[in-house]
Amino acid sequence: MSALAVIRPHDWDIPLFIHILGAMILVGALTLSAVSLIAAWRTNSGSLTRVGFMSLFYGAIPGWIVMRGGAQWIAHKEGLDNDNIDFTWLNIGFTVSDMGFVLLIVATVIGGLMVRRIRRDGSPSPITTRIATGLVSLMLVGYLVAVWAMTTKPV
């Protein structure tokens, strides 16, 4: 795989670039969300809770779409998108990204409900802030494992 990375054809570069850029935006937005939600948990700040939600909605979801689209494109280019292919690193990548999307949607919906409550009552619910923080942290751990799998490529 190391040799493959070195001799990678140039027509794989654009899908790979899109895949990595999307993944970086996704992880960056999740990090911003986690930091904001942890700070909001500590201070009960409505504005930080709003940032935690908005970074999921405007950063993590578009980042996930770009990352996943790029992944499918590069997998197609490399011939890795058929049923006969069974690489551990690829399975880890697809599992983490697809389960991560479910968690992302759940966290975004919880975040949206929190923001609605802030508009109504002026302060976020501490319990939903903690649940959203936990989900976002779990996603970050998952994506850390995915980055490890994508770079070390265990067969």
């Binding site: 190391s2 070195v6 140039h10 570069d13 790979l16 670039f17 990595i20 850029l21 993944a23 970086m24 935006i25 992880v27 960056g28 937005a29 990090t31 911003l32 930091v35 904001s36 700070a39 201070t43 700040s45 504005s47 930080l48 940032v51 970074s55 950063g59 850390l144 980055v147 490890w148 994508m150 770079t151 070390t152 490529k153």
Partner: protein, 132 residues
């Protein structure tokens, strides 16, 4: 050895971009308190040092790469440019006492978005490796 170096190099790049994403949120009007800015600064700093040190180590570790390859020189130039813009942008985004959003002046805003351009270009050079 190669895989460990590559993993931590790529992880550093994720830290770097996470720092950029956090600073972009500050530039777009997100609340800027001491703790979140500190995290952004740590991510940016650790990511910058990690990408540089581990990137040079990787170039020395692999027989197919040389430190004076055109794409590695281009990456180093972009890294230096990103650090320059980043330092200017970070100076202009100081936390407020109550953690409220700050008004970012035009020079700081320009420096920050140039940092974004340099980092994206850096990623493109890393993937494309022109001349390799």
């Amino acid at each position: 050895m190669y895989h460990a170096l590559l993993f931590f190099h790529v992880l550093s790049a994720f830290f770097l971009v996470s720092g950029v994403v956090m600073y972009s949120a500050f530039a777009l009007g997100s609340p800027l308190d001491r703790a979140t800015r500190l995290v952004a600064e740590i991510l940016w700093g650790v990511g910058a040092l990690g990408t540089l040190a581990l990137g040079i180590w990787l170039a020395l570790n692999r027989p197919e790469y040389e430190i004076w390859d055109g794409w590695i020189i281009a990456a180093l130039v972009l890294w230096i440019a990103a650090m320059g813009s980043g330092a200017r942008a970070s100076r202009g985004m100081r936390p407020t006492a109550d953690g409220s959003p700050v008004a970012v002046d035009r020079r700081t805003m320009f420096a920050h978005w140039m940092r974004v351009v340099y980092v994206v270009a850096l990623l493109f050079v890393m993937v494309w490796k022109p001349g390799a």
